[in-house]
């Protein structure tokens, strides 16, 4: 068995030898700033092509970059959230290569002195195990423009011309480079989700893969379990959702395993993920790799970080999602899925935390929050925190259910009602007599009425069709306007029907 912490990383048998997959992930994340990285143009998605541009981000002759301090601080916050080190001194470098959607034919990036170094991203896997992945670094760079090619399939081959939109050129981009610590496709997705929820919580990025604000490349290789040396890796690109990341990894693992099984060699190369075909294909081999001729950008002065700045940014980190997830799982005994769901819904974790503080019943509270409250939030488009169902109201409902004063049907109705109209659940229950009826005399009256009105069902039951019991209980509940204790109702129905049979 593999010695990895990641239980999802089942070894792959190749020619009778157990292999493991080794992955590192590079993520490009667009930062959520008002303006671009080096000019005053707006940073927004979806504007008319080439409307958010100026001499600087178009790389006009003579134009100069001026760094966006907010982008630098957002990146540093992201690093601090994962315990990265913030060197006192960092700088921008030029990465030189020709590309039509890159206005200056070099990209301002960071080569050997990134803004952050090290750090660890912890995460929970769906199977309940805990994993983590070390960060190598996070650095800042500018995004490029976007080309579209005038050909039938949108590819460059066979196109008569290409169009370039420079709205995205110069948008601040952080590149998070991980160590090769990831050992399974679920771990890769869990890692990406952990990054995403942290960046969203910090307001660092929207992290929308479909809008291209998160793009990731996976470096993947296989090696026999226990071998220290890495196998030859390939780099997978072009995934546009976490699901396609998972599928691409599984496909590439299978492809590499098959090559090794047949005694072949893995070629180090970049491979593109084809969503429709469900496979990766070769894009370019590393032999054609560029010499980017990195050198310090002489237009930009070094970035210096005073310890005080770092302290101020560190202190601004509150309510980090991973700490909450850990607490929900360890202290509140929620499932990993529940914890993730609560934390990943904007505002819900705050609501859950406040409600649980009142109810002291985490599981019951989580059930309501993820069940009725999430459904209502979806239906009404209003998040729980903004509905008229305050945490005190939810706590009253939880307490009423726990005390068996109301049944779950009543609880559900009350939640919907207070959600839109407000009011105190306890007072509503008292005023309208919605308390659960557990008095057998009162229930027997209802039972007699229901049996009298449903002769056919009574006959069916007696003929052995016991399934009608559910219907009969439902009728009792209906007669009681939902307040009858359903367990007691069934008991009394059985007793009444048993009596009749005798």
């Amino acid at each position: 068995m593999s010695a990895t912490l990641d239980a999802a990383a089942a070894p792959i048998a190749i020619g009778g030898v157990a292999y493991e997959v080794v992955m590192g992930i590079e993520c490009h994340v667009e930062l959520k700033t008002e303006t671009k990285m080096f000019c005053g143009c707006r940073n927004v998605f979806g504007a008319e092509p080439n409307t958010n541009v100026c001499p600087v981000c178009l790389g006009m002759p003579g134009a100069l970059p001026v760094p966006n301090r907010l982008a630098i601080e957002l990146l540093v916050k992201a690093g601090l959230a994962f315990g990265s080190e913030i060197p006192a001194y960092s700088k921008f470098d030029r990465k030189n290569y020709f590309y039509p959607d890159m206005p200056k034919d070099y990209q301002i990036s960071q080569f050997d002195m990134p803004l952050t170094q090290g750090g660890v991203v912890p995460f929970w896997l769906p199977d309940g195990t805990h994993g983590s992945c070390r960060l190598t670094r996070i650095h800042l760079e500018e995004d490029t423009g976007k080309s579209s090619h005038a050909s039938r399939d949108g590819r460059i081959a066979g196109s008569t011309h290409s169009l370039v939109d420079f709205n995205r050129a110069g948008v601040p981009l952080m590149e998070c480079v991980s160590e090769p610590d990831i050992r399974s496709a679920p771990a890769a997705v869990a890692y990406l989700e952990a990054l995403k929820r942290t960046f969203v919580a910090l307001g660092v990025s929207d992290v929308k893969m479909e809008e291209g604000s998160l793009r990731c490349d996976v470096n993947l290789s296989l090696r026999p379990v226990g071998q220290e040396e890495y196998g030859t890796k390939t780099e997978i690109k072009n995934m546009n959702s976490f699901n396609s990341v998972r599928r691409a990894i599984e496909s590439e693992m299978a492809r590499q395993a098959e090559i090794l099984e047949n005694g072949g060699r893995i070629v180090q190369e970049t491979r593109g993920w084809d969503e429709a075909a469900g496979t990766t294909h070769s894009m370019r081999s590393k032999e054609q790799a560029h010499d980017y001729r990195y050198f310090p950008d002489p237009d930009l002065t070094p970035i210096e970080f005073a310890p005080l700045d770092v302290t101020r940014l560190r202190e601004s980190l509150v309510g980090l999602p991973q700490a909450r997830i850990d607490r929900f799982v360890s202290d509140d005994k929620l499932s990993i899925a529940q914890a993730h769901q609560i934390v990943d819904t904007p505002g819900l974790a705050d609501y859950y935390d406040a409600a649980t503080a009142l109810t002291e019943k985490p599981q019951a509270t989580a059930n309501f929050v993820l069940g009725d409250l999430s459904r209502l939030a979806n239906e009404t488009g209003v998040p729980a925190g903004e509905s008229r169902l305050g945490v005190e109201s939810l706590a009253e409902i939880v307490a009423l259910v726990e005390a068996k004063t109301i049944n779950s049907k009543t609880a559900k109705d009350l939640i919907a009602r207070v959600w839109s109209d407000g009011g105190s659940p306890r007072e509503i229950v008292a005023a309208e007599g919605l308390g659960q009826v557990s008095d057998s005399g009162a229930i027997d009256t209802l039972v007699a009425a229901v049996l009298a009105a449903n002769e056919k069902s009574v006959a069916d039951y007696r003929a052995g069709k016991t399934k009608v019991m559910g219907f009969l209980v439902g009728q009792v509940m209906k007669q009681s306007r939902g307040t009858a204790n359903p367990t007691l109702a069934e008991e009394r129905l059985r007793a009444a029907l048993g009596d009749g049979a005798e």
Partner: protein
């Protein structure tokens, strides 16, 4: 003939004795009369000059007082001015119209200067004679068979030839100071970071600096005072208060220590040239300065250092001229071929040579041996200057080893690179440095006396002190007054 200085023009226009419109018209007439022979301008912006002059006169009429009211200004054609052709004297930008105005230019225009036109230069400011221009030939007004120097040859020739009162040049390794010396005018490169580079088309970003060219130190100081200062559009522009230079202009050099560089021995110069510089040093002393010997042991590595750093930066800066977004485009069968065809047709030999050197110096495997070492040498050179300035207020030395040479006299690149021997070390150290006229020699084979320039350099941000010293020297020696623009022959210089 003697023209009015910028100081005089601004005074008279502000006083209502003259008008910007009159000044613009006169300057334009002068260009029409002379530029066919000198070839200082690549484009003359008469219409722009007229509208600006009208605006200036309106502001004066409304009671404003402008430091450069009605002063005719020529602008090196590597600086963007909205709506003007901005070419860098390169075929690759021959028809490019700038969509914005450089900060330094804008500050002068706001202060009342009149933009006469855009002047010739060595392509992308790479050269020391102006012969590398792909778009025009500029002659030295003192001897039309000689070069004006470069790269700011057009801006210097415009002022020396009376076709502009002041002009803007850019200096990367001597591109203001060497031509100023060749044409007998004042050329001043401020401290790196003191004047915004926004809108100056980059050659070597860590060295490029805009500076004024004028017939007097006082005019250079006036222009400098208007354009110096922090610009939020240039991250390398320094955010510290400007010490205005004009109030620091002085008449003598009492209490001033002038460093004479041990390694720049005058004995290596032609005897007639040497005599001019010996006299210049003696004049400094006569004006009250104390001459002290200083050492710049690493200065001799200046050229080698410069010709790694500047090409490295230029190889990256000039990548954007690829035919995709603006400028010349020569279609190839695919994107790569279009890049190659465009750049092959668009760039001249010297530009290509420097792009190649720079690409090589930054390449994987060579970067440490060339670029990194050059940066270390640069640090050492700056350190030498810092030590030297512990014992002096300014350093004096020749601006160039010879007067202006004849066209096509320097055929191999290295002999041309050596023209910047005395100016490059100060550029690498980022120092403020200028050339002021210091005498004349008649070169062998020449027919008329040609000017020489004394280079004065000062510690970082000591512009006020530097211009003050230069002013005292200028007033004490009166070389500038001896200056008279020779009558230009009517035979047009081939352009």
């Amino acid at each position: 003939m003697s023209d009015a200085t910028a100081v005089e023009i601004a005074r008279s226009v502000n006083a209502g004795e003259s008008s910007a419109a009159k000044r613009a018209r006169a300057a334009n007439d002068r260009i029409a009369e002379r530029d066919g022979v000198i070839g200082a301008y690549l484009s003359v912006t008469s219409e722009l000059a007229r509208t600006h002059a009208a605006r200036v006169d309106a502001r004066i009429a409304a009671g404003e007082r402008l430091p450069l009211a009605g002063v005719p200004l020529a602008i090196k054609d590597n600086m963007c001015v909205t709506g003007t052709r901005t070419t860098c004297a390169s075929k690759i930008l021959a028809d490019w119209i700038a969509p914005y105005t450089a900060t330094a230019v804008q500050r002068l225009l706001d202060a009342g200067a009149i933009p006469l036109g855009k002047t010739n230069l060595d392509e992308f400011a790479m050269g020391s004679s102006c012969e590398n221009s792909a778009l025009g030939k500029t002659a030295n007004p003192w001897d039309l068979g000689r070069v004006p120097g470069g790269s700011s040859g057009g801006s210097v020739a415009a002022v020396a030839g009376g076709e502009a009162t002041v002009s803007l040049g850019s200096d990367t390794g001597g591109s203001i100071r060497e031509p100023a010396a060749f044409c007998g005018v004042v050329g001043f490169k401020p401290t790196y970071g003191r004047v915004s580079r926004y809108g100056l088309i980059a050659f070597a970003s860590s060295l490029d600096q805009i500076g004024p060219i004028a017939t007097t130190v006082a005019d250079a100081a006036l222009v400098y005072d208007v354009m110096a200062g922090h610009d939020p559009m240039d991250a390398t522009s320094v955010d510290r208060p400007v010490e205005l230079a004009s109030p620091g202009l002085r008449e003598d050099l009492r209490g001033v220590r002038i460093g004479i560089v041990r390694e720049f021995a005058l004995t290596e110069l032609d005897p007639a040239v040497r005599a001019v510089y010996e006299r210049a040093y003696a004049d400094l002393e006569k004006l009250g300065a104390e001459l002290v010997e200083v050492a710049l042991p690493t200065a001799e590595y200046g050229i080698a250092t410069y010709y790694l750093i500047a090409p490295a930066e230029c190889s990256s800066n000039l990548a954007r001229f690829d035919g995709m977004r603006y400028g010349l485009r020569v279609e190839g069968r695919d994107v790569g071929a279009t890049y190659e065809a465009t750049r092959a047709a668009g760039f001249g030999d010297e530009v290509k040579r420097r792009i190649l050197i720079g690409t090589y110096a930054l390449s994987s495997g060579y970067y440490d041996a060339y670029y990194v070492r050059a940066q270390k040498a640069r640090t050492l050179i700056a350190g030498d200057f810092a030590k030297a300035f512990a014992s002096c207020d300014a350093i004096a030395c020749p601006a160039a080893a010879t007067p202006a040479f004849a066209f096509a006299a320097k055929t191999d690149p290295v002999s041309m690179y050596l023209m910047d021997y005395y100016t490059i070390p100060m550029s690498l150290a980022g120092l403020p440095s200028l050339s002021v006229p210091c005498g004349y020699v008649t070169p062998a084979g020449g027919t008329s006396p040609m000017p020489l320039g004394l280079e004065l350099s000062a510690p970082l941000f000591a512009e006020r002190s530097l211009l003050g010293i230069a002013h005292a020297y200028e007033r004490g020696t009166r070389h500038a007054e001896a200056r008279s623009i020779p009558d230009l022959p009517r035979t047009a210089v081939a352009r």
